[in-house]
Amino acid sequence: MSEAMHTTSAVSAAHGEHHDEHHGHHKETFITKYIFSQDHKTIAKQFLITGIVWAFIGGLFSVLFRLQLGYPDTKFPILETLFGHWAAGGQITPEFYYALVTMHGTVLVFFVLTAGLSGTFANLLIPLQIGARDMASPFLNMLSYWFFFGASIVMLSSLFIQTGPAAGGWTIYPPLSALGEASIGSKAGMDMWLIGMALFIVSSLLGGLNYISTILNMRTKGMSMTRLPLPIWAMFFTAVLGVLSFPVLLSGAILLLFDRNLGTSFFLSDIVVNGQVLPNEGGSAILFQHLFWFLGHPEVYIILLPAMGMVSEILSVNSRKPIFGYMAMLGSMFAICILAFLVWAHHMFVTGLNPFLGSVFVLLTLLIAVPSAIKVFNWLTTLWRGNIRFTPAALFSIGFVSLFISGGLTGIFLGNSTIDIHLHDTMFVVAHFHIVMGVASFFGMFAGVYHWYPKMFGRYLNNTLGYIHFWVTMIGAYLIFWPMHYEGLAGMPRRYLDKRGWVSFSQFGDLDKMITVVTVIVFAVQLLFIFNFFYSIFKGRKVTTQNPWGANTLEWTTPIRPGHGNWAGEIPEVHRWPYDYAKDGRDFIPQTEPVGANESAH
């Protein structure tokens, strides 16, 4: 009998230990807490801060090449001081220009808006909003960040090698990207680009699989799938898109590495470069474009969906009103997710694609406008008859909707192959995707940072700086990209660094100057945001209430500065959907509150 008692106490002791671990009372050193951390909140901050560093670099690149575009005849001696022969005589050389635009695109699309955006908020919000102590596999989650970090190191190093980084555009179409003889940027820099992206894809897959399994398996009691907050649904669809499409890009990258280094001919055929006849025959340069865009198009939704999800949540919280049409929002995200895989060839209407195939892709592409329209109308109705608080997060969300409308509508031009013949690869495309994918997603990201900063750091960002940040960025974004459409309507090709030699495209000199000046101002204001971000981590106004925005979701039931494990006691149980605002005369009803006996059903 004493033996039996002994066993019981051993079991309970083991149980106790297990319990303790969940609550994060085990010893943490600086390294396990801040560097090789397995806490999803710390990993989220790591993604965010790395993303900010990359955004600074990528944004700086755009300022540099905008200087060339706005002032092609002016010399900036400081550029030669900083970049040596890449800017000989104070003017950016074409090789440098193309390296800048290529790295600007790569860095912002992948390192900032994929890793920095969904890496940050999927990590932060999934466990907090579904009611889990951490991710399904905290270790894989940590690996995901460190693969991203490795990818960053490789990509960053490529900037410093003698022949410079990749310079064939962020889409790296072969043969240009396959042949070192064709472009200096296709020498060692291109190999590093491909290796960096391979590591990045590993990171993204580890993260994505983790997000999916966490959302499907680790929701707290009562948290059915239809009670999930919309950001979580958005992260779920994002992860599914990434897991299904990134491997295709990986295959393309690896085949391209083979073509470059092992003499294969997957993408190469009938080539004479610099008078030298190459032996490769039978490959298809177009095949690479299919592989690239099979990721590349879902990629724009990988970037945009998390922003949509967060904007839905923030608009609902700040208009003190439920999100309108929760199920329609879900359905439209699902439709976007499916259609995202069926439209990639609309990037290839003028590659010699079979016209019949082209027409199918026109149909499927324009079909995406339907779920997008539904989302816009639902956001508008969410604002309608609300009681709106304009926090910086809410303003960025409203800005997101405005930009999404503007950029989405120009997508209807480009998705129609007839118009695309004229507008393909012109500045119209640049204006379109910067508004709808670049700036809009950035607005979603800013909204998320302003809204969840109190949860991340237990302090607020400075509001006044936030308002300055919003207004300058909003006005600047439209000043930069709205008139750019006209350049595209004139047929001006993208990636032209000096148009003075052309009769048809040289009439926009003043416009290009204006855009450059605005770019510099907008960039300066982003520095203000970065300053605000880091300053407020240490000196920001402290959060004193558990639920500063009066929100329903579970993250606001955790302590102000949650430890590893998030909730000190039991994980709360969920009794309702997350959008009971203004119901039955009450400002908000948290998800944890049981449904009352005489409460009206929603």
């Binding site: 304009f390 409308i405 509508l409 052309w502």
Partner: protein, 350 residues
């Protein structure tokens, strides 16, 4: 020195802005957080309305400034279809743009936080959802219908009487080949490309159809009101034949020939009379192709039939450029200059 001042001003601006921001935070706390929050709420709501109004004026002003800088009416028959599709799309999306943007900013302003109002609990309405699913679907069906109709017209087979020109892109320029009197472009093989042997596109000289093919660089001549079919290829990397005035575009892919056809409507002279002496139909490379991409320019000259005939009559088939001794019009003395390499290339070329 100048850049030093710019940086100094930027830093100063930062410090000032930061101090103001910090001060306003303290003032906010002193006056009561709730009160200052409500004040900034009113300010931002008002700014959203101002943004809407100034934005709409800006859209109008921008159009006034720039509408004359886009290229004017299309200079090809296909381009007219492209422009028409563009205006149909512009009209439909324009309505949506103004309606939704005005609603967005107006709602934001009108429903700003107020103690007098309670938010309206309105979680869903299936009828509304149905309406704004069906209406966009119908609108898009119209756009898809027009789009595909025009698309098939543009990408359909070229008429039988179309003249054929082969366009080859290379880093960084354009090369053209005319089929000559037989109307057939001779066969070519990329391994035959050899500038030193006067074979820039790799013609197979054994093919009889090659013997009258004419080769020119940078400037292509076509005939007004006569359909022209371009057979497009590239030597090194992907280029793109961009014809902004004709509203046409097609990639030039090494190893995979592509085609497009159109009918030019105005001669270069007519356009010069209209737009000034400098006017030219330019060929722009629209696909990133290396460091000279931005300067990869070609020119299309649209002639009347007589002008074109006179121009092409002055050109010698490339076969005779490569083998001057075979040229019936050349004096015999020329052919004796370099006989040996000619024989060698004849036997090795397939």
């Amino acid at each position: 020195m100048q850049s030093f001042f710019v940086i100094a001003i930027l830093v100063l601006g930062f410090v000032v802005m930061f101090q103001i921001a910090k001060a306003s935070e303290y003032v906010g706390i002193l006056r009561g957080e709730e009160k200052s929050r409500k004040q900034s709420n009113r300010v931002n709501a008002f700014l959203l309305l101002v943004f809407l109004i100034l934005g709409l004026i800006g859209v109008y002003y921008c159009n006034e400034q720039l509408k004359d800088k886009i290229l004017g009416p299309s200079a090809s028959d296909h381009g007219i279809l492209v422009d028409r599709m563009l205006y149909i799309t512009l009209a439909l999306t324009g309505v949506v743009f103004f309606a939704t943007q005005i609603a967005l900013f107006w709602f934001s302003f009108k429903y700003q936080e107020s103690d007098k109002r309670k938010a309206f609990y309105y979680p869903h309405n299936n009828k509304l959802e149905l309406i704004w699913t069906v209406i966009p679907a119908i609108t898009l069906t119209i756009l898809v219908g027009f789009g595909i109709f025009y698309w098939f017209k543009i990408t359909g087979d070229a008429p039988k009487n179309a003249m054929v020109v082969e366009v080859t892109g290379k880093q960084f320029g354009w090369e053209f080949r005319y089929p000559g009197n037989d109307g057939v472009l001779g066969k070519k093989y990329y391994k035959n490309i050899d500038a030193a042997k006067n074979n820039p596109v790799g013609q197979i000289w054994d093919d009889e159809a090659n013997k009258d093919d004419i080769f020119v660089e940078q400037e292509m001549h076509v005939v007004v009101n006569k359909p022209v079919k371009l057979v497009i290829g590239a030597k090194d990397v992907i280029h793109d034949v961009g014809l902004a005035h004709f509203r046409m575009k097609m990639d030039a892919v090494p190893g995979t020939p592509t085609t497009m056809w159109f009918t030019p409507l105005y001669t270069t002279k007519q356009m010069q009379d209209k737009y000034g002496k400098d006017f030219a139909y330019e060929i722009s490379c629209d696909q990133m192709c290396g460091k000279g991409h931005w300067s990869m320019r070609g020119v299309i000259v649209v002639d009347t039939q007589e002008e074109f005939d006179a121009w092409i009559a002055g050109k010698k088939p490339q076969y005779y450029v490569a083998f001057p001794d075979k040229d019936p019009s050349a004096p015999k003395a020329d052919s004796l200059a370099k006989p040996a390499p000619v024989v060698a290339s004849l036997t090795t070329d397939k």
